[in-house]
């Protein structure tokens, strides 16, 4: 195991262990006790397993999980940012369909292997985006009567 995955394993299992400890702390300190009986049982097992995993990661004895290499992280980051912005801000701020159209087109542009220099590939991306949104609108607004927080565009 190289140092990078080992550090990553320590961070990942450390985060899980911290969540486990927090869950156990809340379960054992909150009232009424009867409402937290089941969470106490779970959190006890949770914290034991999480600390065991964290300990193994600290000792460099984690055998499962390859972590993330820098290339994968670089590839993920732009798409993930677009997805997070779509979900946590744009869908409500701009409107579901407008935001999804923009996000869809950006994602296609970011990850489509077709060359950016060709006009044809941009037209193809625009057509795919329009087609997808037409289907989504037809399915959700037309067929399923899903009312989005805003109107079609804003």
């Amino acid at each position: 195991m190289t140092d990078l995955p080992r550090t990553q394993h320590i961070i990942a299992s450390g985060v899980v262990a911290a969540v486990g400890v927090a869950v156990a702390f809340i379960s054992y300190t909150q009232e009424p006790a009867a409402a937290f009986l089941f969470p106490r049982m779970i959190s006890t097992v949770f914290v034991v397993l999480a600390l065991w995993t964290f300990g193994k990661a600290l000792m460099g004895r984690t055998k499962v999980g390859n972590g993330l290499d820098s290339r994968a992280m670089r590839n993920i980051l732009p798409g993930l940012i677009v997805a997070l912005v779509l979900v946590y801000w744009a869908a409500k701020g701009l409107g579901f369909y407008t935001a999804t159209t923009i996000a869809f087109f950006i994602l296609l542009s970011l990850y489509d292997p077709a060359p950016h220099s060709e006009v044809k590939s941009w037209i193809k991306r625009a057509l795919i985006t329009a087609g997808f949104l037409a289907v989504m609108y037809g399915l959700f607004a037309g067929l399923l009567n899903v009312f989005t927080p805003r109107e079609i565009f804003f």
């Binding site: 969470p39 995993t53 993920i76 732009p78 946590y88 409500k92 994602l107 990850y111 989504m136 399923l144």
Partner: protein, 509 residues
Amino acid sequence: MEFLAYFGDVFTPINFGLLLLGTIGGLILGATPGLSPTMAVALLIPFTFRLEPAQGLILLGAAYTSTVAGGAVSAILLKIPGAPANIATTLDGHTMAQKGQGARALQLSFIASAIGGVFGVLLLIFLTPVLAKWALAFGPSHLFWLAILGVTVIGSLDSSSVVKGLLSGCIGLWLATIGFDDIMGAQRFIFHPAVSGGINVIPALIGLFAIPQVITMFAKGRVSLDAEVLTVEKHPIRDAFREVFRRSRALSIGTLTGSVIGLIPGVGGQIAGLVAYDQSKKMSPERDKFGTGHSEGVIAAESANNAMVGPSLVPLLTLSIPGSPTAAVLLGGLLIHGIFPGSDLFDNNPDVAWTFINSMLIGQILMCIFGLYVAGLAAKVAQVPNAVMAAIVLGLAVFGSYSVQNSMGDVYVMMALGTGMYFLERFGFSAAPLVLGLILGPIAEANFIQGSMIANATSSVGQYFFTGPLNLTLITVVVASIAYSVWMELRSRRYTTKDDAVKKEEAIS
């Protein structure tokens, strides 16, 4: 033979239309690498809201069945299994296609899938009512242990690390406790208004299965799928039928292996296909031909992974304990339609239960007929670039999770859980036990509370939960499944870890 009374319901125009739609759509979705049956069913759930319960279940059941079979198309023509269940099919199926026998391989795979699938659904039909009656004897303590069993079996058997699998299950059980407590009305772990009503299962399922796949597609970057789609020559279907029945040993091994494995909670189609392939190879006089484009390999693998589908629903329909991630997603589909599976499902909603099961039986035959026709189209869809697929799945996930309750909170939860799950998976954690924990958590807690109340009134909690033959059997199975997995993990590690290899070399030298 009660199921025969509801057979006609499958053939009403809407029901049959949905069955066709689910089957053809499932075949195409199944052929798409990265779209697993579980994810396909999870993404389809929002589309069933407006449908009657039986109609919604017909669509989901057809999609489940045909995505498993559809995965064979890309396995054979592209050498990319559509789902983990089709890994074994790739071994001989693609070699056959390379030899210009793609049509023969596809025909054999769909016919074997249909025969295995029909056997599996018949097992579901005849086992379920018997087990449902038996399940009436289950009290709160037994249901509590069954729920725990569901999480521990999947946590220990479905994960590459037992500890991380069980830890994933614990995270799921904890997530299930978020929201207001049912008995006291107390707030538990409400750290954001989006989770004040608890975590809704459907957006959570969509997030946990779809978003990690989207991020995995992002991780590949700007790459085009360079797999070549092999051409499909014509092959007489009659010859394929004859060949399947001539290879009855491989067919029966696959069908029986798949059915038995389907009944065991937590053991999925991937294992069914590989075990059936391996057993068929061991028992075949032509074992040397396996891996070189031998039809027995395709028949054994495909009959097994579809034979597994029906039996995998037995624990769900009789005890409301989903035995697999896809069954867990189907449970979510049942619950949103107000259908509670369990011992009284066949008394309270026989029309829904039997129409659903019968549709799976007819769906197997439709899948065989249409599979052969849509294979070419499915193989083309399987070549859709990552970028398009990632954007489509993300869009469907956002709209689908919003449409559950018209709530942005559900979308936030979907995205947060999905993103978190992607990173957890990179470090050896698994989505399946987490989902099972999330779904079985409320069942476990409700029965634990109910059991504790009964115990306080009659005996002690320890005596109520830890005595009695059924309790002890279930506890034994929980402990045995964990012990077995730990033993298997240690055993495989003994031969695979780098340190041990070095030690072994040193010892030899």
